[in-house]
Symmetry: D2
Subunit: 339 residues, 4 copies
């Protein structure tokens, strides 16, 4: 098999295409011939060597990808060779509460990721993917897709008639927008470009707010909700926007903490939380059960993740650079060839 | 004011149109000039005098109706004269867990109901109704509408991609079908008439099963779900269908107990529940908060309750007789004139 | 290894002590030298051949047991040789919603059980057990203990000040009583023997009702709760008692369906459920996460399961016969020798 | 009646003892002859005029108090004259989700509070209080008591065996400690005084950490939990301690945001939340239903709130000064005489 690998450090200079022995499945494992992978902001943090001590080279990057089962262990009953699947983001979270060693089970660091021609995974950490999706589309599901699903499901599922504010136009944001729409939610999305605003409306956004044209976008959000504020904010940006997100949420509402693209150190004005019973809940992707629930929804509604572009396997480093610009609309993917 | 009233007993022979003094609002009350009312199966049970000792004549029947605020008490701040509203089914359930004296707070028995030209109600037991609904449509919301909402919200809200089985074509069933559709659920509905099957499909039912043509409809439901069973059953029929409903629900699924039209004494095969972690939860309409959540969903999606027919106030007894036939599709309503 | 096995049918006549090759662990498995096992009512159903088609001979019976890890697979990181553990009841339920193939993952049928000197199990389906318990005590946890835990945790955890009614004095009942006590619940327990009543009080039962002396025990329960009824009923008996249990539960309360010792066909009076928003939820043991939560509670409070008696391995059939009499107080266990 | 009142501004100089006409009950109101009141940190914020525009003089301060019903309106059925009761903190929150105008319903600002000889309140915003409590003890329940209850109940009730970290020794902290103990939780409490440490142990604290002697108390907390962290933090202090609280909570755990005594502007390190699925939920006292659930628990277990001291009505300003020192252990109360 071939794989991209941070061989002896992080950064572009340490990211090399290497040859490795083909993986062998244990009795409860499957081997997957990967077909596509997809990048998340976390993969940039890994590239920059900023992900903490547990994530160390040598490491095959990327958590999100899909492929086809090519071999199964002796005890694997329900995943036939030829099935198109994606490995779950966490190898150790089947459902319920997250395990205490959650961080140890992540693909793309500390565990080897999916930017490889072949991957081995436990059969119970692998999910079938919908037929109507291209490989690149399906590759976006394990982290970006499941995160969007969880963000609309926690702490309890959003219900038709509620309003959700989605910050941004990355892969999680656009999947959340599509899921919110089929779930009967009213959607408010912020962006900073006219062209993206147009595309958001085409995807079904009820209200699009241009942050460039509307610096006080929090006020615009409140006005769009008759002054009450939204039921739920998908806080994908982080330190810079969190204070405004807090102004957007209604009494009793929830801010889902998802991203920290704009910074790690957020300032919270406590009285605005304390007197209005606001919940801030982090979304840490989700379990295999969440992934399966997402797949059912995509299947029923024919939803397709938005892929901004797909680069060839050989140009994988370029995919990281493209993601860094944050200029995209949706997911940046990499095609993976047969070996 | 004028009202229909069970004057000194139950049954059609005791149901009379009477004159009563106009109600005066207390400091936290509103007076509503009623415009329409709607019947539920429970109203038949009251008519038949089978509702238990707490429900006694004299009694103005019917829990579901809407009207316009004509007077407000001194402490009522947020409900202006002229607002179109519906009284909540329970006068004593604002939200959260049901109060222990829940049954004492029901309109249409033991409390006087809405089949009257004027009704007085506490301002916090009254809900604004959507502008896009006719009076008759809005009249169906307090019991039938809220019941449908609760049946998709308990014990936790249904999520896009899940499958719900709805038994029948009464007011609750058709509202649940419409709500399920905008919530992204897959819907399976049973009926016993070709004509109704056609209308169910027009309302968006994904799968319609004709119980006349398919006596083993439980098997048909399982086949429609790849053998797994549905996530949720809206059990609107009662004793006759419950054993089949149990066969339709998947492991870990929920049966919402709502109606008992087909009988009160149901037989449950316990092993089928015990080994598959099935929940049976009764839906007892819902709180004022549930009503408000329903209204938001109807507003956003422009959903209209299905009204089978609307009879004039003078023919109110005929409305009971029509409901008794169970031949209708949706709600049986009564128009209420100004006085 | 040696094991009791239903070799070619069910019933006592088919239950034989056999020799089998020692199990080898796969990469993610552990081998456990069993020390004790414990019986549940379900094991009698298996013995009688009444458990349905999926449970077939040859079969090693019993789901509940504990032992010591003697070997671990290459990928097992956190379970050292020498650790005392119990296999989880379900091999395929880590947490969250039960899997659709839940029934296929049960020990003691359809999977081989624990009445054997050695058992192999996936490391993620095995739980460390508290030091303060004897082997026999620990053996009762996987099904009886976890069931009691779930019965106080679903659909949401019981809170201090609530009242729980527990029917009976078997292993689940007595563990539930002890857990309820440390959780601050008020406990009402029914029994039919003076001697047992005494022991229930010693275990901390707040109110003990003798069903022999008080045939209308449902009324006694209501009176003990000021007429309101209990928040939660642990329905361990089944068809015979369910109608009375329904009379005992308060408006908005929950009946946890757990046992069917007294029969499979229960009759439900629907109006008593429909008008009072009662939930009937089955308890199907629980997941590995539930087991771990139970262990934390036992550890903190030094709770010990009640063992009625422990029989030697060679007399295992006698343990089934003892359970059949239903005369015991707590769990019937079997000691398992080294091989 | 007599009352303390911020007559034309805030601060001690505007706090005067005034005479007012006795209140008259509306049809659904009760009049309460107050017997005791209790102070919370929020009352200091009001005194300082820092509570925002909605809270304006003239204003009778304090939200927490108890008294005896002396008159009832015509429609009040279940609260007899002579019943000892406490008004709920929020006049407009019966149960379920908090209403959108939650802040408008608070006693002690913007609504008149309880530092008065007579108070009128809606019967459904009043709760009976346990017989075993003194007036001063009972006076602490509406805000301090209910906040402690909610902090152990949200987002789902804590379960026996879990560990809770409680910061401080004010009224909320000490009630939470006592409730946690009867609920079977393991408790870790921080303080900065030897004398208080002793009293905390006497109240049942499992682990007491002296923050003066242990500046890195977050590390001490983690060590006390085997490195895993606690399930739940009651964050009563605010800006200064929140970063440490975040280090104390386990993966998947919850920080209940309750107080801001140490400052309003908290800094959050987002990655520590995002990768470990931590929830921060504010506790905004609770609903009347929460209050009633608290009362049941206090009743069953004979729990008594800790009263640091009780001052005479005439010295009410001194009670504010005492609270300002933060040197107390438990609640600062005021006796209210008959008029």
């Amino acid at each position: 098999m071939r794989a991209w690998c941070f061989t002896d450090g992080f950064g572009f200079e340490s990211l090399h295409l290497v040859d490795r022995p083909d993986p062998e499945p244990g009795p409860r494992d499957v081997v997957i011939a990967m077909r596509a992978a997809s990048l998340n902001f976390r993969d940039l943090v890994v590239l920059r060597g900023q992900h903490g001590r547990a994530v160390r080279p040598p490491l095959i990057p990327l958590s999100d990808g899909c492929g086809v089962v090519t071999a199964t262990g002796a005890e694997v009953g329900d995943l036939a060779v030829g099935t198109r699947v994606a490995p779950a983001f966490f190898r150790n979270w089947q459902g319920g509460a997250p395990p205490q060693d959650l961080e140890a089970g992540r693909l793309g660091g500390p565990l080897d990721g999916v930017l490889a021609t072949r991957v081995v995974a436990p059969a119970d950490a692998v999910v079938r993917i919908p037929d109507h999706l291209s490989d690149a589309e399906a590759a976006t599901l394990p982290c970006a897709g499941v995160t969007a699903w969880s963000a609309l499901s926690e702490p309890r599922p959003a219900r038709a008639g509620e309003t959700v504010l989605i910050l941004g136009t990355g892969g999680v944001a656009l999947m959340a927008l599509q899921l919110a729409r089929v779930s009967g939610l009213r959607t408010v999305v912020t962006t900073s470009s006219d062209a993206k605003a147009e595309r958001l409306r085409a995807l079904g956004a009820d209200i699009v707010i241009d942050r460039s044209a509307t610096p006080d976008w929090a006020r615009a959000v409140r006005e769009a909700t008759g002054g009450a504020g939204v039921d739920r904010v998908l806080e994908l940006a982080g330190a810079e926007t969190l204070p405004s997100s807090l102004k957007c949420v209604r009494t009793g509402g929830t801010i889902l903490l998802i991203g920290n693209v704009t910074g790690n150190e957020a300032t919270l004005f406590l009285p605005a939380i304390l007197t209005r019973r606001v919940t801030l809940q982090s979304v840490t992707v989700g379990s295999r059960q969440d992934f399966e629930a997402l797949v059912r929804a995509l299947d029923l509604h024919g939803i397709r993740p938005v892929v901004d572009r797909t680069l060839p396997f050989e140009d994988a480093p370029e995919a990281f650079r493209t993601l860094e610009t944050q200029a995209g609309f949706g997911n940046i993917c990499v095609e993976i060839p047969g070996d």
